[in-house]
């Protein structure tokens, strides 16, 4: 994405003329809307912005943005871009199902889940995208929830502003094939007890009453009740800037119902981007050898002339 620019654009300016074709109630709508808001907010130049997707319901996304866009082929995973710290933003719409192909389990589906292709329940341990992203040392890792529009917007905004690969997992409801897979994180009555809102430099407190916290016990986290001798000082302090990703990894392992699931920014560190390093080499080479002259190149090495 490009950097901020002056002319004021509204979210609707980022809407393309294509009819949106997700199922009614699909969580993808919210992500689209929040992203359009973020674009407007950051005044991204439409022509300097490119959306790229694979194939799937979510992958229709690029068609709906009034930017440059490519709807590519299926599943050409960006894990390696992550490791390389290419300056791009990856949004994973995690609905724990294959939507477009009508309801088979996906790599993020829960163990034992019954779907069209696993009538007796899956035997595949689910992958946890953020564990993998952190394992691959992504420089920006975050999570949000489709219906929590303010949090989602803010998370996407932070991702957009990150220089390097930003990896955002969004819990997204597939209304048709996996409705309420994330009910624990979306239902107003329980979500504050089930989510841990990460804030840099702040102790990890959560709960509707903000009376619970996360404490470190050796290398494993534990949930503690505040009060009765336990204070905020005993809790883990979130540090999204920690150079070592171990804390982020530990957070990515916390899973409902044993733990509240962390949302927000897990990790945000600065590291030279792949793009910058590539262009630096081009410039360094030019500086050393002069801007490449084709005829010089052709005539280099052992040459001879025939008259």
């Amino acid at each position: 994405m490009s950097t901020a620019e002056l002319p004021t654009l509204k979210p609707k300016d980022y809407k393309s003329d294509q009819e949106v074709r997700w199922c009614p109630g699909c969580g993808d709508y919210s992500i689209l809307l929040q992203l359009q808001k973020v674009c407007a907010d950051l005044r991204l130049k439409k022509e300097n912005t490119v959306f790229v997707s694979g194939i799937g319901c979510s992958s229709r996304f690029p068609y709906y943005m009034e930017t440059y866009a490519v709807h590519g082929i299926h599943g050409r995973a960006p894990a390696i871009a992550t490791r390389r710290n290419v300056n791009l933003k990856i949004i994973l719409f995690n609905n724990r199902i294959y939507g477009l192909t009508k309801g088979q389990y996906s790599p993020t589906s829960e163990l034992g889940k019954k779907t069209k292709s696993s009538p007796m329940g899956t035997v595949d341990y689910p992958m946890h995208p953020l564990c993998i992203a952190i394992g691959a040392e992504a420089t920006f890792v975050a999570r949000s929830v489709d219906v929590d529009v303010k949090h989602l917007q803010e998370t996407l905004r932070r991702a957009a502003l990150h220089r390097g690969t930003a990896y955002v997992e969004v819990y997204q409801d597939c209304n048709v094939f996996n409705h309420d897979a994330f009910a624990f994180a979306t239902e107003r009555s329980v979500r504050d007890d089930n989510l841990l809102y990460l804030e840099h430099g702040k102790p990890m407190i959560f709960g509707k009453e903000r009376n619970k916290g996360i404490r470190l016990n050796g290398t494993t986290p534990e949930v503690v009740q505040l009060g009765a001798g336990v204070t905020a000082d005993d809790l883990l302090i979130h540090d999204e800037k920690a150079p070592e990703p171990t804390l982020a990894y530990l957070l990515s392992r916390m899973r409902y119902p044993e733990f509240p699931e962390p949302v927000g920014v897990f990790r945000a560190v600065e590291q030279p981007t792949y793009d910058d390093m590539v262009m630096e080499q081009v410039r360094a080479a030019e500086a050393k050898h002069g801007q490449g002259d084709l005829m010089k190149l052709f005539n280099s090495g052992e040459t001879w002339t025939v008259n």
Partner: protein, 624 residues
């Protein structure tokens, strides 16, 4: 053995006869660690600078470093040099330098009757002979009767010669390839300057090494001069090549230069995305050293990523190229299909090797033609061009890029292991010979439609970063003109037709293929790709013998040149010679309903000139 040698002249210094030859082929063979590729390259450069036409062929072992001295570990380099235009490294060699018994064993059969065999006799120890699976004294074997054997203690001589350089014996002995080179330089009357220059520029910083190599080279040369071993010396005069500046290139080097040239001519950055694979890796390696030419090489994690990033680079307006070999192309096909439907320009270079599957990775073959033309899901046509020789890899890439940009399409460039690793002199083109590659980017946002086609059938290339041309492309079928997703039956048919028509239109850009020899007659040999040189040589020779045979070589294999059917019809018999089981033959049968004769070979090796000649003779005699 006996050979009769005509004395052309007398060598002044030692009254040695000097025989003049039109061409000669020499092969250096030794253990992988013996530096044979280097010796061969030096001989090549010297001969090139001398003005010979040349063609070379390296022959690496399949293993990185098979156990020293074994048959599997033999590495060879062959040079054919001549006073006239040649097209192949030669079927057989006039002189063979064998640095150990294994090298002698695997290469002897390619030495002509009466040929010169120089062996490093120091390496003929009992253990070495055993490793080479010789029992007893090899030179007693009958096959040595037909050649002239020169047993030279190359290792010992080298050690002695380089003593004053102060190198340790182990390092000193490493110069033995250069000593052997010196002998061969003497034998073919070549000057030492080119190699001396190279030694000093290469080892300048390590004085001892430079000195040692120089000493070894001179010692080898002097050995030829002073030893009474060789009764005759040879001379191959310069060839009369088209005037111009020349440089020796391998096919892969030429392809890399072609990529840089195409990007420069289009005024765009070059993005070369590739996953290493034999025999295509050198293109990536060459280009990675050319960053000053606004070249961005991307060593992808696999071929799928390489192809997808190529599509992405094309979308953003780069000259986007990916290179691989057959198994990699198989993996890229899905992504190539995306490039076809997105109608974005890109090149896929396929340096073919022996298949199927992993096959014979280090050997050559032409068995990916079907895969190139027909190997994708759906109706998914793309232009395909095949390089005919090492130097032509440059032009094939440049021509392909021109077509890709003009027609907004991926283009497959076929090379093969033989062409890619072989080398020949490349006449360096002048700027005038390289017109710019015009790319047309839309300028009026009001008129812009992503799939509005021009007279060639091409859609506009609107680049991210250009205000007003935001648009969305994707792998689903798209509506004519607007590019919106469309499931409309008639539109699908239309788009399938338009994409096919666009590829068919490329025929308009293909020059009428030249028929070498009579424009009509008894027999036309048809070839494509890297078999050009061998077949051309065979046809030249047959014609020299007065035979009625012509040669037509296809550079573009899809589409085929418009005049092809008509040309084929002018000959009583058509012979298709290819290094596969009849892939072009099949396409020609389908397209032109002709029934050609065929010469197939799938042995991981190029044709030999003699094989083609024999086939021609067989056909012509059968026709009488």
């Amino acid at each position: 053995m006996t050979t009769t040698l005509a004395a052309d002249s007398i060598d002044s210094s030692k009254s040695r006869r000097v025989e003049e030859l039109p061409h000669a082929a020499v092969r250096f063979a030794g253990d992988s660690g013996d530096g044979m590729q280097l010796a061969g390259t030096q001989f090549t450069n010297t001969s090139a600078v001398l003005g010979n036409d040349i063609a070379t062929l390296p022959d690496y072992p399949a293993e990185i470093r098979a156990p020293a001295g074994t048959l599997a570990g033999v590495s060879g380099f062959q040079i054919n040099f001549s006073n006239h235009n040649i097209h192949t490294p030669g079927d057989k060699v006039d002189a063979l330098i064998a640095m150990n018994p294994a090298a002698m064993k695997t290469n002897l059969k390619d030495l002509i009757d009466g040929g010169i065999l120089i062996v490093n006799i120091d390496e003929f120890t009992p253990i070495a002979l055993q490793k080479a699976k010789y029992e007893g004294d090899p030179f007693e074997l009958p096959e040595f009767q037909r050649v002239r054997v020169y047993k030279v203690p190359i290792s010992k001589h080298t050690l002695e010669a380089v003593k004053e350089s102060g190198l340790a014996p182990k390092e000193a002995e490493r110069c033995k390839n250069i000593y052997a080179l010196g002998i061969v330089f003497w034998l073919y009357d070549r000057p030492l300057e080119t190699t001396l220059k190279w030694i000093h520029s290469k080892f300048g910083s390590k004085a001892g090494v430079a000195k040692a190599n120089e000493l070894a080279l001179r010692a080898g040369y002097n050995f030829g001069e002073t030893a009474e071993l060789f009764p005759v010396r040879y001379k191959v005069r310069k060839a009369s090549l088209p005037p111009g500046r020349y440089r020796n290139v391998t096919g892969n080097q030429a392809a890399a230069l072609g990529c840089v040239a195409a990007a420069k001519l289009a005024g765009k950055p070059l993005v070369y995305s590739s996953y290493p694979i034999t025999p295509a890796s050198e293109i990536l390696q060459e280009l990675s050293a050319l960053k000053a030419f606004n070249v961005r090489t991307f060593q992808a994690e696999d071929e799928i990523a390489a192809m997808c990033s190529t599509v992405g680079a094309a979308f953003t307006g780069a000259i986007a190229v990916t290179g691989t070999s057959g198994p990699g192309v198989a993996l890229k096909q899905e992504g190539i299909g995306l490039a076809v439907i997105l109608e974005l320009p890109s090149l896929i270079i396929n340096v073919q090797r022996g298949g199927p599957s992993t096959g014979l990775p280090t050997k050559t073959e032409q068995a990916d033609l079907w895969q190139a033309v027909m190997g994708r899901n759906g109706e998914c046509p793309m232009p395909v061009i095949a390089a005919e020789s090492p130097a032509d890899c440059f032009w094939a890439v440049v021509d392909a890029a021109r077509i890709a940009v003009k027609y907004m399409t991926p283009v497959m460039v076929l090379s093969d292991g033989y062409v890619a690793n072989g080398s020949e002199p490349w006449r360096i083109p002048t700027e005038a010979e390289l017109p710019p590659i015009a790319s047309r980017h839309p300028t009026d946002p009001a008129e812009f439609q992503p799939y509005l086609r021009d007279a060639h059938g091409s859609r506009p290339w609107a680049l991210p970063g250009t205000p007003g041309f935001q648009h969305r492309v994707g792998g689903l079928e798209k509506e004519h003109v607007t590019g919106d997703i469309s499931y409309d039956p008639a539109n699908h048919q239309l788009m399938v037709d338009l994409r096919a028509q666009k590829v068919a239109n490329v025929a308009k850009d293909i020059p009428t293929p030249e028929v070498y020899g009579d424009p009509q007659g008894e027999l036309l040999v048809v070839t494509w790709g890297g078999t050009f040189g061998t077949v051309r040589t065979a046809v030249e020779r047959a014609r020299d013998e007065g035979k009625s045979v012509s040669h037509l070589h296809l550079r573009w294999v899809n589409p085929m040149p418009s005049q092809l059917g008509e040309i084929l019809a002018r000959f009583r018999t058509v012979l298709v010679a290819e290094l596969n089981m009849g892939q072009l033959e099949f396409l020609l049968r389908a397209q032109y309903l002709i029934e050609p004769l065929a010469l197939h070979k799938v042995q991981g090796k190029p044709f030999q000139v003699a094989e083609i000649q024999q086939k021609i003779d067989e056909i012509l005699s059968g026709m009488k």
